[in-house]
């Protein structure tokens, strides 16, 4: 012990210089850390960058550690150690420095990834993958630097890594564009989960999920369609934005398909026509007053009902034909009331025109009954936006069912669309606008277009 004390007294200068060097570096480090963080805080206060605290937390301790390492390095450098020991000490300190930098890079990148990507639906599920990719990259680069510090050859390792990278890129050549476009979609934020979109090839629906490779949409038929991001980014998309008010219960679109049943009954003059009509069932009257709407839905103006056409064209009773054609089925609450009106007009005409013309052979009036088959389609609307899109897709049979069949044949108070809009969406105003349309004055296609326009105008 005495010998050691004696040695220290004799060589105090050799010890004090490295110690002072270390302490100086440490104090400068403390001072610089305070200054640097103050400057950084002021800068981020101006820029209002939300990641300030993350950076400060990550750098606070390592920053001082780096000055401690610097102090040790300088202390060793000014010491009287053998150059051989100095070299080893310098490599050890450099290695520690590189390792600390790696830890800081890993910690910071992980925090920033989580900080930014947690908010983005597309990336949320990919955070662990991204963190691992960054972590691996930093470790690989750090190890290469450490190997270089210790004088080991790194070129072969770099070549192997480069080859591995190329192989990975080749293997992922189909996936990478999707990832790229996925990132583009996510950063641009042009579409988001919950948006209602329509692509240029007609697919439409609400976005239910976004990921790196695909975008999932729930179509109006209730199917899940997966669109690769590469396709989505090259397609023209109409984004209608977030859903509108949801109906208390959805509207299920039905269709009705008609089927003609021959009754075997036929009339060749007005007398026979009126007598058979008096006894005719609703389904017969319905067929002859509505079939023309469907069979000639492309015509504007549409031909009149079958009775009007026959008395004009086959019997030559033009005036009666006009009177029958002018009867608007929309004015009558039931088929029975409509039938009585038609029969009334014919019998009244016969009373004033006792002319018993007979149709020529082959032009008798054949009474036909319509049988209808009603079945649900795959289309369901939960809100008015879905309603509009489905209206564009369904057949005219479906429109016919919800407008015409509902009121007269199935004896509902109004058309189905108005009932749903009023009862399930609470929108009396819109329901009334549709209910006031006289469907008999439109072709089925123009009726479709009118309803769509009314609803679109209302939702803007």
């Amino acid at each position: 012990m005495a010998e050691l004390m004696q040695w220290l007294l004799n060589n105090w200068l050799l010890i004090i210089i490295p110690v002072l060097t270390f302490l100086t570096a440490y104090i400068v480090g403390l001072w610089l850390r305070r200054k640097a963080f103050d400057v950084f805080r002021r800068w981020t206060a101006k820029s209002k960058w939300a990641g300030t605290q993350l950076v400060i937390e990550t750098f606070r301790n390592p920053f001082l550690l780096w000055f401690i390492l610097l102090g040790i390095y300088l202390a060793v450098y000014v010491s009287v150690l053998d150059p051989e020991y100095k070299l080893v000490a310098g490599r050890v300190i450099s290695t520690l420095f590189v390792v600390s930098i790696m830890l800081v890079m890993i910690t910071l990148s992980e925090k920033l990834i989580r900080f930014y990507l947690t908010k983005r639906e597309l990336f949320r599920a990919q955070i662990p993958l991204l963190v691992n990719v960054v972590r691996t990259t930093v470790i690989v680069v750090g190890l290469l630097i450490v190997l270089d510090i210790w004088g080991m050859p790194t070129t072969p390792i770099i070549l192997v890594l480069a080859a591995g990278l190329l192989i990975a890129i080749f293997a992922l050549r189909d996936t990478l564009p999707s990832l790229f476009y996925g990132a583009h979609i996510a950063w641009s934020e042009q579409i988001k989960k919950g948006d209602f979109i329509q692509t240029e090839n007609g697919e439409s629906g609400y976005i239910t999920a976004l990921n790196w490779r695909n975008t999932e949409i729930k179509t109006l038929e209730g199917n899940c369609t997966i669109i690769p991001n590469t396709i989505l980014s090259r397609t023209r998309i109409i984004n209608y934005g977030h859903p509108l008010k949801k109906a208390s219960s959805p509207f299920r679109f039905y269709t009705r398909l008609t089927f003609k049943q021959l009754t075997g009954l036929k009339a060749t003059n007005l007398q026979e026509l009126a007598e058979i009509m008096k006894e005719a069932s609703d389904s017969i009257i319905y067929y002859h007053t509505h079939s023309f709407l469907e069979e000639h839905h492309y015509l504007t103006p549409e031909p009149a009902n079958d009775f009007a056409l026959w008395v004009s064209d086959s019997l030559g009773h033009e005036i009666l034909g006009e009177r029958l054609a002018s009867i608007d089925a929309f004015d009558y609450p039931s088929l029975d009331a409509l039938k009585m009106r038609l029969v009334g007009v014919i019998t009244d005409y016969m009373a004033h025109n006792p002319d018993d013309r007979v149709a020529i052979e082959g032009e008798a009036f054949h009474f036909i009954r319509s049988k209808i088959v009603i079945l649900p389609t795959a289309y369901i609307a939960h809100d008015l936006r879905e309603f509009i899109e489905v209206m564009k897709k369904i057949t005219i049979d479906s429109i016919f069912y919800h407008i015409f069949e509902a009121r007269l044949r199935l004896k509902k108070s109004s058309n189905d669309f108005s009932v749903w809009i009023e009862d399930c969406l609470g929108d009396k105003d819109l329901a009334g606008k549709i209910a006031r349309l006289d469907p008999y004055t439109y072709t089925l296609e123009s009726l479709r277009a009118n309803i769509i326009e009314i609803v679109e105008t209302h939702t803007r």
Partner: protein, 415 residues
């Protein structure tokens, strides 16, 4: 009994989506779903030749693609049997035939032989035309649903034959006719299902202009001159001589050409005679072209129809007259007599013009040649009318509805 196992349609059901719309095909699939546990067995008398075979050839694969197990079998019979059924066919059309008791016996005997050989596996047995009609006797033993599809006009039949057939018809669950005026009052439900054209067949598909011009050149027709066309076999009931008379009236004022295109029927010895008569009547007039088109020349018929300015169907008597739908599908203005099923296809002044005389036909043709805009409007309407009512997709739909209705007698059926 043979079972047809080699029927392949060229078209897939989804090929019709661009024509009738995706939703229409979706609805067919919905109907198909409701029938996917039923086997439908078609029975007729031949796989090849005739309208019924042609329809089934297209129909069966399409219905199968909708998930419905539809099959097709034919009955067997010797020449004597088919001679008897030919007599029945003529008699049903009101033509007098000498039908003896032995003819009826042969019909019953052949049916019984078929009934012994036949495997009636269908849940629904769909019998076409009179030849296999008496198989209904098996219903008592096996039950099932039976429907009779009558492709011919039975409105004014020979009473003896009618009374014989009527005994069988009334045991069916339903009968199906092509037009209201083809039917009679029956005690069983009767349905109306019109025949149809296939828009994707050679006879109706779109053709390149080069093909049309090549056909015109082949027959020496003028491309620039308005063309009036009637496509029908050479038969007095199609009134080809009346067509020439109407054309001559039109030709006095308007420079145009007439094309009478058709074939001769092997089972109609009169057709050669009619052709000769028509050629004589047309001789000396370079604007009248009488073209004998061989069977199977669907592309050529298609090209002629597409090249025509006005298409005529001046029949005196007609079955359904699907050549009218073919013309309307090609957006051509049509002048036709209001007989048979033509009245369903041509709504006067909406989808074409109806006439009742040679003078009427000439007047209508003149109107259409002079008023091209009106002619185009009629053609457009006609196209839409066929699209809505006379395409094979509508035919498939009606058949599926028929099969469903056999299990649901109400007017309104909820599925």
């Amino acid at each position: 009994m043979q079972e047809n196992s080699n029927k392949q349609s060229k078209s897939k059901i989804q090929d019709y989506e661009p024509i009738v719309g995706r939703s229409y095909i979706e609805e067919l699939r919905l109907l198909g779903d409701r029938l996917n546990n039923k086997v439908i067995q078609n029975i007729n008398s031949t796989y090849i030749g005739g309208g019924v075979a042609e329809i089934l050839d297209h129909m069966v694969p399409l219905v199968n693609q909708l998930g419905v197990d539809m099959r097709w079998d034919v009955i067997q019979g010797n020449n004597d049997f088919f001679s008897v059924t030919k007599k029945f066919h003529n008699a049903i059309h009101g033509i007098h035939e000498n039908i003896t008791a032995s003819d009826f016996d042969l019909f019953i005997e052949t049916t019984q032989k078929n009934a012994e050989q036949i495997k009636l596996y269908g849940d629904i047995i769909f019998v076409h035309d009179p030849q296999p009609i008496a198989l209904i006797a098996q219903k008592e033993t096996i039950g099932r649903k039976w429907a009779w599809r009558c492709h011919i006009d039975i409105s004014s039949p020979d009473e003896t034959v009618w009374n014989f057939l009527h005994k069988f018809i009334v045991h069916y669950d339903a009968a199906v006719f092509s037009a209201p005026n083809f039917a009679r009052q029956l005690s069983i439900p009767q349905f109306l299902i019109s025949p149809s054209i296939d828009p994707l067949s050679d006879k109706n598909k779109e053709l390149p202009i080069e093909t049309i011009n090549a056909v015109l050149s082949k027959y020496g027709l003028y491309q620039e001159k308005p063309m009036i066309l009637q496509v029908s076999r050479f038969d007095r009931l199609k009134d080809p001589v009346g067509v020439i008379a109407a054309f001559e009236m039109v030709r006095k004022n308007i420079d145009c050409q007439l094309v009478l295109a058709g074939g001769t029927a092997t089972d109609d010895p009169e057709s050669e005679e009619v052709l000769k008569e028509v050629k004589e009547r047309a001789s000396g007039n370079p604007d009248i072209h009488v073209l004998l088109i061989p069977p199977g020349s669907d592309i050529e018929i298609n090209a002629l129809q597409r090249a025509a300015t006005v298409i005529l169907q001046k029949s005196i008597k007609e079955g359904f007259g699907l050549t009218v739908s073919e013309a309307l599908w090609k957006k051509k203005p049509v002048v036709a007599t209001g007989v048979g099923g033509i009245t369903l296809q041509v709504k006067h002044k909406f989808t074409g013009l109806l006439c009742h005389s040679i003078e009427g036909a000439a007047y209508s043709i003149r109107q259409l040649l002079i008023n091209r805009e009106y002619a185009n409007w009629l053609g457009q309407n006609g196209h839409q009318h066929v699209k809505q009512n006379f395409l094979i997709t509508r035919h498939v739909r009606d058949y599926l509805l028929l099969f469903l209705s056999l299990y649901h007698p109400d007017d309104v059926i909820y599925l």
